[in-house]
């Protein structure tokens, strides 16, 4: 009985610790809803930690092309991530048309991109910290940055 209790406690602590690590950076959320009959609805929730971990697991040679393509924008991405952490709540861009609304904002350390129009709604949220992690990893692969 005592052994089972200890094992359960150990297992619970491990699961909690793993869960805490996985979610400590927040969640990346992508929601795409087509406002038509039979339109597709895509909802993806991904722990933000999975991205830098995934980028480390993927062999560098598979990322070289993407890194080379993104190379001109990586310093901007890195600085943006660094600076946005200082401004956790802000509406950066807001474009409104009749039937269209695009908004880029930062709330609670997450960058939100919301695009709503008559045909589809797109909502993407990414922790600002993740942008920096991605830029760092890609910079380490892309030579000459």
């Amino acid at each position: 009985m005592l052994f089972l209790a200890k094992a359960a406690l150990g297992l619970g602590a491990t699961v909690a610790l793993a869960g805490a690590y996985v979610f400590h950076e927040g969640v990346i959320r992508v929601d795409v809803d087509e406002n038509s009959v039979g339109g597709s609805h895509v909802h993806v929730w991904l722990p933000a930690t999975a991205v830098p971990v995934g980028l480390r697991v993927v062999p560098s040679r598979n990322l070289e092309h993407a890194a080379a393509q993104a190379r001109p924008y990586l310093p901007v991405l890195r600085e943006l991530s660094k600076e946005l952490r200082k401004y956790p709540n802000a509406d950066l861009v807001d474009v409104r048309n009749p039937g269209e609304h695009v908004r880029v904002s930062v709330h609670d350390g997450k960058i939100y991109v919301d695009a709503v129009c008559d045909t589809q709604d797109i909502h993407v949220s990414v922790p600002v910290e993740t942008l920096g992690d991605v830029a760092d990893r890609l910079e380490s692969i892309a030579p000459g940055v």
Binding site: A13, A16, G19, F23, G26, P75, Y87, D91, N97, G109
Partner: protein, 211 residues
Amino acid sequence: MNIFHRGFVGLSGLLLVLAWAVIPFPAVAQTATKSDQWIHVRVESKDNNGETVRVNVPIEMAEKILPVINHDNLRQGKVHINDAHLDDVDLRALLDAVRSSKDGEYVTVQSNQDNVRISKSNGYLYIHVTEKKHKEHAEGKAGKSESSEESKVEVKVPMKVVDALFSAGKDELDVVAALRALSATGDTELVNVKDNEDTVHIWIDSKNVSD
């Protein structure tokens, strides 16, 4: 320590770990909230679509990001002027002359089509341009009718910002230095453009949202 104590310690540890997971980055980030100057751009279109664009950018963030953007004429926060025909004009001497001169109107142009006024007052450079467009409408019973549309441009720039902008070199505009100088200025209106189609408003204040 009996099993209950151990369980209690374990449970407390679990709760602490979960609390760390639930309140991670946002709480830390919120303590770092800044109340710096923000540059706001608002463009309102008066045509059928009625498009509105609002952009709010912290000046400090722009200062940091601009130097890492290298695109076309923008290099390391400086805009290179390729073909500005400035060879015959000593822009620095011109600016020095304006800076050291007394407040007043320097340029006044009045015509049927445009009115231009450039003046300096209390450390600010003002540029006011009014453009009149005459439109002829189709001939009706009462003959041709005419209407005029007016577009107004009002620019107000602190002289310190102008100095910083031209501080880099002969063929360069130092945008980062200008932003730095701008952030030192208090809340101010920079650009107002009004015509029959669009309204453009650029200003600086310490709010992180536009009105």
